[in-house]
C-alpha cells in the first residue's frame, strides 16, 4: 500500500452519544494489527451535520462517507478500503448536501475540522469571479427550486422552520421578519398603501477587527445574491440593494461582476429562469460611517440623506426605504438561505442549540495562535474556539479575556470559557453575539485600556442625533482617561456604571444602546483592575503610560546605551557607573527599556 489515508471520525454531539469513542478505539486497534499506523492518520472532526446517520466515518482521499458505523464494521472497513483500496459499498452513503463543501479539501486540518461551514461553504474552494464554479456546485438551484415548486408563503415557512436568526448581531428571527415584510403593503395593512417593496443586504461591516462580510463576499458573492433573490420572491419585491462600504474595493468589484454575470445568465432581471418573477440588484456604496450599519441609518443613507437613525417603530419591514416595506438582512444571513432551501429548514434546525440554530462566522483575532475566519455550529464553547481551533495563546502567556461583539460587546474572563456560543448564553454572561468579532486578550493587556479603546471608537462614530449617546459617551470617555492617567477617584467607577446604564436605556439606536458594554463588562469582570488604577495608581499590565515608572536596577553596567536613547535627556550617570532616571523628566516612551541589553531597566 503506497497511499496515505486520512480517516475522520465525527466528534459531534450526536455521534458522541452513539459511541464514536468505541469506534475510534476499534479503529486504532485494527490499524495496529495491520501494522498501518504510519500510513493512516485518524482525526476527529466537529459535527458533520449527518446526525441521523451517525456515527459517521469519512475516509480520504476520495471523500467516502460511511454512515451508521458500528464497531463490528471496523475490521471490514480497514480490510477492504485501506488494505485492498476498495471503498465498502455496503456502508457508504451518498450525500449531496450544500453545506460543508470545504470539508473535502480542508477537513483533515485541525483548524478546519472542528468547523461547520454553511454561509462560508464555498469560500476558499471556488473561483469567486467565475459564475461557472458556483453553478457547478448546485449554485442557483435553490432559486430554481423556489421558483418551480414553492409559493412565497412556503418559502417563508421554510425559513421560519429553520430557526435562522439575524446574523448582524441582534438575532431577530429571520422568518418572522420575512413574514411581516411580506404582509406589509397588502390592502389590510394600515400603513403602507403601495405594493412596491425592497430587499437590502447590509454589508456595512464596521467593527474594528471584523472581516466576516468582506471575506464572504470576496469568496462567494453569488450565494449572497441567490439568497437576496429568494428573499425578494418571498416578500414580493422587485428590487434589491447591497449596501457595502467603499473601503472594500475588491468585494465591490467581485459583487459587480457577479451581478452582471447573473444578469447575463437570466438569473437576475426580467423573468428569472423563464418564470414570471422579475428582480434586480444594485450596489450602493457607504462612506464608512459605523452608524450606517444600523438599519434605519443605512436606509437614510441610501435615500441620499445623512446616515442617522430614526426611532422605531415603524420598523423597516413596514416602512423602510422610500417609505416602502423593506426586508433588510445581513450578508451572513443571506448566505444561509440557499442551504436552508436545498438542505431543508428541518435539517438546519438540527444544527446548533435550542434557541440558536445553525452556525456563526467569527473573525478570530488578537492574542491567539491561529487567527482566522471560522464558522462553527452554535453551542460550540469559547474554549473550543480559542484552544481547539485557535490553538491557544501564543508564547505560553495566560488567557485573560475574550471580547465578543466588537465595540458593542463585552469582555468575558476565564470563568466564562465554557460558555456556549449562542445569542442567549453570551447575553447572560454579559456580552453579545454581535456580528462576529472575537478578540482574545492576554495578560499583557489592560482592561481599562481595552474599554477606553472601544469607547473611543464608538464615541467617535456617534452620529450626534441623541444626547445620551453624543454627550454620555464623551463624558464616560473623559472619566476613563482620568482613571487611566491615575487621577481617578473611587466614585468615578460608580459614575461610569451609572452613566453607562443610563446611555443604554436612553439612546435612540443600537450604537448608543450598546456603546457602554465594553466599559460595563470590564468593570463587572475586572473591577479590581479599575480599583488598582484608582487606589494604587498602578496598571498591572504596564499599558497605561501615565502610571508606569521605568527604573534602573543594580544590573546596570553603565554602558550609556539608555542615555543615548532617551529623547528627553532624563537619564544621567557616568560611563561604567549605574545610571538613574529622573522621574520628573521621563515621558515613559520605553526607548531605554528596549535599548538595554542587560535587562537592567524594569517597568513598574
Amino acid at each position: 500500500m503506497s497511499k496515505e489515508y486520512i480517516i475522520t471520525i465525527c466528534d459531534g454531539t450526536g455521534c458522541i452519544q452513539k459511541s464514536n469513542a468505541a469506534i475510534r478505539k476499534a479503529l486504532e486497534q485494527q490499524l495496529k494489527d495491520h501494522n498501518l499506523t504510519n500510513d493512516v492518520r485518524v482525526n476527529l472532526s466537529g459535527c458533520l451535520g449527518m446526525c441521523d446517520k451517525g456515527p459517521i466515518v469519512v475516509i480520504n482521499p476520495g471523500y467516502t462517507i460511511y454512515g451508521n458505523v458500528t464497531t463490528n464494521d471496523i475490521p471490514e472497513i480497514v480490510e477492504e478500503h485501506i488494505v485492498k483500496g476498495k471503498p465498502l459499498a455496503r456502508l457508504a452513503i451518498q450525500e449531496d448536501h450544500l453545506y460543508n463543501r470545504f470539508f473535502r479539501i480542508f477537513g483533515d486540518a485541525k483548524f478546519f475540522g472542528k468547523q461547520m461551514r454553511i454561509a462560508l461553504r464555498n469560500c476558499g474552494i471556488i473561483d469567486p469571479e467565475n459564475i461557472d464554479d458556483y453553478l457547478s456546485l448546485r449554485g442557483y438551484e435553490a432559486l430554481a427550486k423556489v421558483l418551480t415548486d414553492m409559493t412565497p408563503k412556503q418559502v417563508i415557512e421554510e425559513v421560519k422552520l429553520s430557526g435562522l436568526r439575524g446574523r448582524g448581531g441582534a438575532g431577530f428571527p429571520t422568518g418572522v421578519k420575512w413574514q411581516v415584510t411580506a404582509r406589509a403593503g397588502s390592502p389590510n395593512s394600515p400603513r403602507s398603501t403601495s405594493d412596491e417593496k425592497y430587499v437590502i443586504c447590509n454589508a456595512d461591516e464596521g467593527d474594528p477587527g471584523a472581516f466576516m462580510d468582506r471575506s464572504a463576499i470576496e469568496g462567494d458573492p453569488h450565494t449572497v445574491l441567490e439568497g437576496m433573490i429568494i428573499g425578494g420572491y418571498a416578500i414580493g419585491a422587485k428590487q434589491g440593494i447591497v449596501y457595502i462600504r467603499a473601503e472594500y474595493p475588491l468585494a465591490v468589484r467581485r459583487l459587480e461582476k457577479a451581478i452582471s454575470d447573473a444578469r447575463e445568465h437570466g438569473l437576475l432581471g426580467k423573468n428569472i429562469l423563464g418564470s414570471d418573477f422579475s428582480f434586480d440588484i444594485d450596489i450602493r456604496l457607504g462612506a464608512g460611517a459605523f452608524v450606517c450599519g444600523e438599519e434605519t441609518a443605512l436606509i437614510r443613507s441610501i435615500e441620499g440623506g445623512r446616515g442617522m437613525p430614526r426611532p422605531r417603530p415603524p420598523y423597516p419591514s413596514v416602512e423602510g426605504l422610500f417609505g416602502k416595506p423593506t426586508l433588510i438582512n445581513n450578508v451572513e444571513t443571506w448566505a444561509n438561505i440557499p442551504v436552508i432551501i436545498l438542505d431543508s429548514g428541518k435539517w438546519f434546525s438540527t444544527i446548533g442549540t435550542e434557541r440558536s440554530k445553525g452556525t456563526k462566522v467569527f473573525a478570530l483575532a488578537g492574542k491567539v495562535v491561529n487567527t482566522g475566519l471560522i464558522e462553527v455550529p452554535m453551542g460550540t464553547t469559547l474554549r473550543e474556539i480559542i484552544y481547539d481551533i485557535g490553538g491557544g495563546i501564543p508564547d505560553n502567556k495566560e488567557f485573560k479575556a475574550v471580547q465578543t461583539g466588537g465595540p458593542s460587546g463585552g469582555c468575558l474572563p476565564a470563568k466564562y470559557l465554557d460558555t456556549p456560543v449562542d445569542y442567549e448564553s453570551l447575553a447572560k454572561a454579559g456580552s453579545i453575539m454581535g456580528s462576529g468579532g472575537m478578540i482574545v486578550i492576554d495578560q499583557d493587556s489592560c482592561m481599562v485600556d481595552i474599554a477606553r479603546y472601544f469607547l473611543e471608537f464608538t464615541q467617535n462614530e456617534s452620529c450626534g442625533k441623541c444626547t445620551p449617546c453624543r454627550e454620555g459617551t464623551k463624558r464616560m470617555l473623559d472619566i476613563l482617561i482620568k482613571i487611566a492617567e491615575g487621577k481617578g477617584e473611587m466614585y468615578d467607577i460608580e459614575n461610569l456604571e451609572r452613566l453607562g446604564n443610563m446611555i443604554k436605556k436612553a439612546s435612540l439606536c443600537g450604537l448608543g444602546q450598546s456603546a457602554p458594554n465594553p466599559v460595563l463588562s470590564t468593570i463587572l469582570n475586572f473591577r479590581e483592575e479599575y480599583e488598582e488604577h484608582v487606589k494604587d495608581k498602578k496598571c498591572r499590565a504596564g499599558v497605561c503610560k501615565k502610571l508606569l515608572t521605568y527604573e534602573i536596577t543594580d544590573k546596570c553596567v553603565g554602558c550609556d546605551a539608555c542615555k543615548k536613547a532617551c529623547p528627553v535627556v532624563a537619564i544621567t550617570g557616568t560611563t561604567k557607573a549605574k545610571h538613574v532616571i529622573d522621574q520628573n523628566k521621563c515621558i515613559k516612551c520605553g526607548a531605554c527599556f528596549s535599548k538595554c541589553k542587560f535587562n537592567a531597566i524594569i517597568k513598574k
Partner: protein, 119 residues
C-alpha cells in the same frame, strides 16, 4: 415551457463542461488565495509565478485557479494543490520563491514540500 429547475440543470451541465474545457480534469489543480487579505500578504506575486509557469514555463496538465479566503489569516498567502486520488495539500506563507519550488518539486516531480504544509 421549461421549468426553472430544468433550466438550471442545463446551466449547470454547461458550466461544468466549460470548466472542464478550461482544463479542470488535469491531473493537478492549483488554487491560489486571492482575497484582499491574501493579496495584501503578497498572493498576487505568487499567482504571477504560477501563471508564468503555465503560459510560458511549459508546466502542463495543471489547472490554475484563484479562490477566496479560506480563513487562515496568519498563514497567508495560501496555495492548495489538489491531485486526483490523493489527499489535498495545503501550503501556507508562500512567496514567489517558494511558489517556484512548489512548481519544480511538487507539480513537476510530485514531491510534497512537507515543511510548508498546513495541518
Amino acid at each position: 415551457m421549461a421549468k426553472p429547475t430544468d433550466i438550471i440543470k442545463k446551466k449547470r451541465a454547461e458550466a461544468v463542461s466549460r470548466i472542464i474545457g478550461k482544463g479542470y480534469l488535469s491531473s493537478k489543480r492549483v488554487y491560489v488565495g486571492m482575497a484582499t487579505c491574501e493579496i495584501a500578504a503578497g498572493s498576487k506575486e505568487v499567482m504571477e509565478v504560477f501563471k508564468n509557469a503555465v503560459t510560458k514555463g511549459g508546466l502542463t496538465d495543471v489547472y490554475l485557479s484563484q479562490k477566496g479566503c479560506a480563513g487562515r489569516c496568519n498563514l497567508e498567502p495560501t496555495v492548495e494543490v489538489i491531485e486526483v486520488g490523493k489527499n489535498p495539500v495545503r501550503y501556507g506563507r508562500i512567496n514567489p520563491e517558494k511558489a517556484q519550488q512548489i512548481i519544480d518539486k511538487h507539480l513537476k516531480k510530485g514531491e510534497v514540500i512537507k515543511e510548508w504544509v498546513i495541518d
